[in-house]
Amino acid sequence: MERTTLDMWVGAFVVGGLIALLILAFKVGNLSGYDGSETYKVYGEFENIGGLKIKAPVKSSGVVVGRVSDIQFDNKTFQALVEIRLSKNYQFPKDTSASILTSGLLGEQYIGLEAGGDEKNLKNGDNFILTQSAMVMEQLIGQFLFSKAHDEGGDKKTAQGGNKKAVVQ
């Protein structure tokens, strides 16, 4: 084969490979949506983080404003310490509350922020004062069963009381 033809084929092959990598980076991996803006760290202590993972989104009004950057266990408070990196483009009041929520019924867990009314804003290294833990299915079902049993017990007592009264009458 002629050298120019060979070079052309190899050149086309390398270009094809690089285009495939670019497709993977921009179309599949969403590198175009990469937010390279500066961030600041804030912390939140939660009793239970459920299935929250590092890199989980932090949303406010449904808009992604940051990401979970680290999760540790605090030995003093026996709670989960979650480090969050918020974009410097978004500033939140000091009394903002953070809750661990689930997108959909089987979706991933994320942190939802609800802005407060304080005039001062959260700064690098600040903690969320108000936090709400993840919803744990077992606890929820347990509470439901307990309240159901309690209600049924109450109904029976009322019914028995009513009969007694009827007998007395």
Partner: protein, 265 residues
């Protein structure tokens, strides 16, 4: 006599171990010599370009067709499973993550070993059988720098490009079946995929995997060819060994790399 049988068994185990250690040393020396002699393959770049044509460009058809069908099968099977849970919109992330993290690098490496690796072994084995390598030595041309090193670098350069093309066309195959044929929502297909796939964690690690597989497969193919007995039978055995050893090494390396790259994610 039982004690004779035991003695024979122990001797054969010992011989296998000694032979294995010797072979490992031989492979390491061969690999180091290839790296040391690599300068010539970059100085005379046309040698490497010619080999990229034979290993990369000639493997393109099998890689693209296989990638397309693997993506289409993933799209179909993924849809069948996900629709039971009402989450068929997650099809994009399933197809993309499977291809970019695992199937792209691994299947491309297995196909590369079957197509290009076996060809490299057969070519070098035949050069040895027809005493072309000895003739080069006689003319004071180092066969490692003239024959082995350009093929090694061609394999290392071709492999990640082939794996990237495999993954990209696989994603297109998944899109074709999931969105075009079955009717999954196009917007959620791409948005779920982009939300799930991380550039550094998934795509860069996939490329690193394919570079490692490229080094392993090409080194095995070159060594088996260079070490093949100079007979027709020897070359055919060496070609078979290349495919078998490469497949096992790729799968073993894949497990080790996955443990390091994706543990805890």
């Amino acid at each position: 006599m039982p004690h004779r049988k035991v003695g024979f068994g122990l001797r054969s185990i010992g011989a296998t171990v000694v032979n294995g250690v010797w072979r490992l040393g031989y492979v390491s020396r061969f690999f180091m010599m290839t790296l040391i002699s690599s300068g010539a393959s970059f100085r005379r770049i046309h040698l490497t370009i010619r080999e990229i044509y034979f290993t990369g460009v000639m493997s393109l058809i099998i890689i693209l067709v296989s990638g397309l069908f693997v993506g289409m099968v993933l799209g179909l099977q993924g849809y069948e499973t996900l629709q039971k849970y009402g989450s068929e919109s997650a099809l994009g992330s399933l197809v993309a993550l499977s291809l970019v993290r695992e199937l792209g690098p691994v299947l491309a490496a297995l196909l590369f070993a079957s197509r290009a690796g076996s060809a490299i072994t057969a070519e070098i084995g035949l050069m040895k059988a027809t005493e072309q390598l000895s003739a080069m030595e006689m003319m004071a041309v180092d066969p490692i720098s003239r024959v082995v090193a350009p093929r090694f670098w061609a394999g290392v350069i071709s492999m990640p490009l082939l794996a990237a093309m495999f993954s990209a066309i696989g994603v297109f195959g998944g899109y074709l079946v999931g969105v075009v044929f079955i009717g999954v929502d196009e917007g959620s297909f791409w948005s779920q995929m982009q939300a799930a796939v991380d550039f550094r964690q998934d795509i860069v690690n996939g490329v690193i995997k394919s570079v490692v597989f490229g080094i392993a497969v090409t080194a095995i193919a070159l060594f088996e060819g260079y070490d093949a007995p100079p007979t027709a039978e020897g070359v055919s055995h060496a070609t078979t060994r290349t495919v078998v050893t490469s497949a096992l090494v790729v799968l073993g390396l894949d497990f080790i790399l996955t443990v390091f790259m994706f543990r805890g994610v």
